[in-house]
């Protein structure tokens, strides 16, 4: 089933960070749609919960060197 994850990051300062995060999350298996909100410092992603989880996505972002402050999942 498709679920919606919202990751709150600490402040993003360079627009190229945004592209980086977007590409990394998009290429993760099970992710259907990604939107990175530069100013709000949020990543919104639709994902298939059989293939991946919000925690996995948070790990992807953390690996890029950004701190994930809060994870929220909506059905």
């Amino acid at each position: 089933m498709t679920k919606k994850a919202v990751l709150q990051l600490d402040a993003l300062t360079c627009p190229s960070c945004m592209q980086k995060i977007e590409n990394a999350v998009k290429n993760h298996a099970g992710v259907e749609k990604v939107k990175v909100l530069f100013n709000a410092g949020k990543v919104k992603a639709d994902f298939n919960d059989e293939q991946t989880s919000a925690e996995d996505l948070a790990a992807v972002v953390t690996k890029l060197g950004y701190t994930v402050e809060k994870i929220k999942v909506k059905a």
Binding site: A11, T13, C14, P15, S16, Q19, K20, N23, A24, N27, L37, F38, N39, A40, K42, K63, L64, G65, T67, K72, K74
Partner: protein, 632 residues
């Protein structure tokens, strides 16, 4: 992984250390030791380059050619040719610049952040057995009862089931004012209970609350890009790799390694990429703080171009409740005549009757003690009764005609004049003579005429009213507030037609409505403005939402849009100017790596500071209205 996080967390210390080393290195140079100078600066370069290269590598892994990559290559290049001072200063400026950008950017985001921070995080849940429990706000469900104490923020949208108090709804409406709340009143998430004690039954929780929707809207808005920004984004995407290619070509053709790596540094898009979004964020934040939600850069752009404002309904321009607007009294003293009228009307629950009674209450006319007898309602005409021995009739001209009450010539004139205002008219006869003539109408908001004038001063050319009301009322209201064009007695679909006609005539149209029944027009207009309504439909269909039904907010929003768009343009000009300057400098030979990076970082700060001016836009003007609101 751990190493990377450590670097990330100590980036400020690394920047500082680099700065200290650079100073030491130069100190060594002046002391005559060029060996110390070179070694210390080389060490500084390596330390500062680590975080930059890590970022470059991470980006490359997800196939993004980042600015960090350009800088990394340039630094390595400088290192190879032994320009340690250049590499040290470039890396330091890059890190320090990022730090300053982060600090100043957070200023432009502050207004929105302060809004989101008002969002409650915990709630006190009341269980059926009366015990309470502190829970996360996401765990509250509809129909749960929550307890709110003085000083706390209300965690849900709901209805008060017990207690009373004063709330400050400024987070939702942008209007700071104490509002009394009692049982059965609605309360909104994010509002502060400044005094009192409430038990609230939740009707909307979590992301469904009005406040959560506002936050989401504003967050999305500040990241919804205008056409110009989208263009710059696409441009930047190809621009960075292109710079890499250009640097390579420069090297191949000129065989000048130093020139090639300088091109890499100068090629950082910098101010161009940050300039437009930062203006929009500051502008949208300014609005959000005042209960004005502008949905993104596109809405901002179009709003700034609007030349025609179309107002829906007379209700947008009036107070929206009928009241006594005109009183003509004749032989009897005013107070006596009005008291008799109020007494007879107090028996009716006709809207006109209620307006009369309200007016009497306001003026403190003593009508309640009067004795009334023989009261009758005559359908389609009005009321009759005997009050303190006087025969009183209150109603329309048919009632008077039926009772043989005749109007004098001057009274006829008064009546004709009153008719032109489009008001409903109540005629009152006492003992067979007309004594009172009342015009009852929707009262025009006192501030409207002046605010519409401000709208014109800011660039509005046509002010139009499209209304379902009758022609007389519409004409009267339009003339009072200074509207150019009026079309009355319209159906909603006819309003849409008018909006389309204006657009075909080449005008950019903003449609101002209350969000009820006018969604088609809101959607058709170039900019739909929902005024004074937090309904879901209004929030979704419109481009601009004014949380308070205030014309001052409308004028502010319009001015803000114009200022923001101007600010964006200024930033783009600054950014392009800087690029041109750097190119010129490169050709003329006075710009090299370190100085190029310096100019770059300065230009980024300049555009951010320029955008920050928007945060305080309209600050001086906001003060008097705030006072007015508390005075009421």
């Amino acid at each position: 992984m751990k190493f990377q996080n450590w670097i990330q967390n100590h980036i400020n210390q690394i920047t500082l250390l680099t700065a200290v080393l650079i100073v030491l290195g130069y100190a060594g140079k002046f002391a005559g030791s060029s060996l110390t100078y070179n070694i210390v600066l080389a060490v500084a370069s390596i330390i500062a380059a680590v975080p930059i290269m890590l970022h470059a590598y991470q980006a490359l892994r997800v196939k993004v050619i980042s600015i960090e990559l350009l800088v990394s290559i340039a630094v390595i290049g400088a290192f190879i040719i032994g320009e340690y001072n250049e590499s040290a200063i470039v890396t330091f400026l890059f890190l320090f610049g990022s730090y300053l950008e982060a600090r100043t950017l957070s200023k432009t985001r502050e207004s929105i952040k302060s809004l989101t921070e008002m969002a409650p995080t915990t709630a006190t849940l009341v269980h059926d057995d009366g015990t309470t429990e502190e829970v996360d706000v996401d765990d509250v469900e509809e129909d749960d009862i929550v307890l709110v104490k003085t000083g706390a923020s209300i965690p849900v949208d709901g209805v008060i089931v017990d207690g009373h108090g004063y709330t400050d709804e400024s987070a939702v409406t942008g209007e700071s004012r104490e509002i009394t709340k009692q049982v059965d009143d609605d309360v909104f998430s994010g509002t502060m209970l400044s005094d009192g004690y409430l038990k609230v039954r939740a009707t909307k929780v979590g992301d469904d609350t009005t406040f959560a929707k506002i936050i989401e809207l504003v967050e999305d808005a500040q990241d919804t890009k205008s056409h110009a920004e989208k263009f710059i984004d696409r441009f930047a995407q190809y621009y960075t790799p292109a710079v890499l290619v250009i640097a390579l070509l420069v090297f191949i053709f000129s065989r000048d390694f130093k020139l090639a790596i300088t091109v890499l540094v100068l090629g950082c898009p910098g101010a161009l990429v940050i300039g437009a979004p930062v203006s929009n964020v500051a502008g949208i934040g300014n609005g959000a703080k005042r209960g004005i939600l502008i949905k993104g850069g596109d809405a901002m752009d179009t709003f700034a171009k609007v030349d025609t404002f179309v107002f829906d309904k007379t209700g947008t321009l009036t107070k929206g409740n009928t009241s006594v607007a005109k009183v003509n009294n004749y032989d009897l003293p005013l107070e006596q005549a009005f008291a008799l009228t109020a007494k007879i009307e107090s028996l009716s629950d006709h809207p006109l009757g209620r307006a009369v009674v309200n007016y009497a209450e306001q003026k403190d006319y003593n009508y309640q003690a009067l004795n009334i007898a023989d009261n009758q309602t005559i359908k389609g005409q009005g009321l009759s009764a005997t009050i303190d021995g006087h025969a009183v009739l209150a109603g329309n001209h048919k009632l008077l005609a039926a009772n043989n009450v005749h109007l004098s010539a001057s009274q006829q004139e008064d009546l004709a004049e009153l008719k032109t205002t489009g008001s409903s008219i109540v005629l009152v006869a006492v003992d067979g003579k007309l004594e009172l003539m009342l015009g009852i109408a929707d009262i025009i908001r006192p501030e409207v005429a002046a605010e519409l004038q401000h709208l014109r001063e800011k660039g509005a050319k046509h002010l139009v009213m499209l209304t379902g009301d009758n022609q007389a009322t519409a004409d009267y209201v339009a003339q009072q507030v200074g509207i150019d064009e009026v079309h009355a007695e319209l159906m909603p679909e006819q309003k849409v037609e008018f909006v389309k006609q204006f657009q075909q005539a080449g005008r950019t149209v903003a449609f101002v409505g209350d969000g009820i029944n006018d969604s088609p027009s809101l959607a058709t207009a170039n900019i739909g403005i929902a005024m004074g309504s937090g309904t879901d439909v209004a929030i979704e269909t419109s481009d601009v939402v004014l949380m308070q039904s205030s014309f001052h907010a409308l004028v502010h929003a319009y001015g803000l849009a114009k200022k923001t768009v101007l600010n964006t343009k200024e930033n783009i000009v600054i950014a392009i100017g800087v690029v041109a300057f750097l190119l010129l400098g490169l050709i003329a030979g006075f710009i090299f790596m370190a100085s190029g990076m310096f100019v770059h970082e300065i230009s980024i700060l300049v555009v951010i500071f320029n955008a920050m001016r928007l945060i305080n836009y309209g600050h001086e003007k906001a003060a008097p209205t705030a006072k007015l609101a508390t005075a009421k």
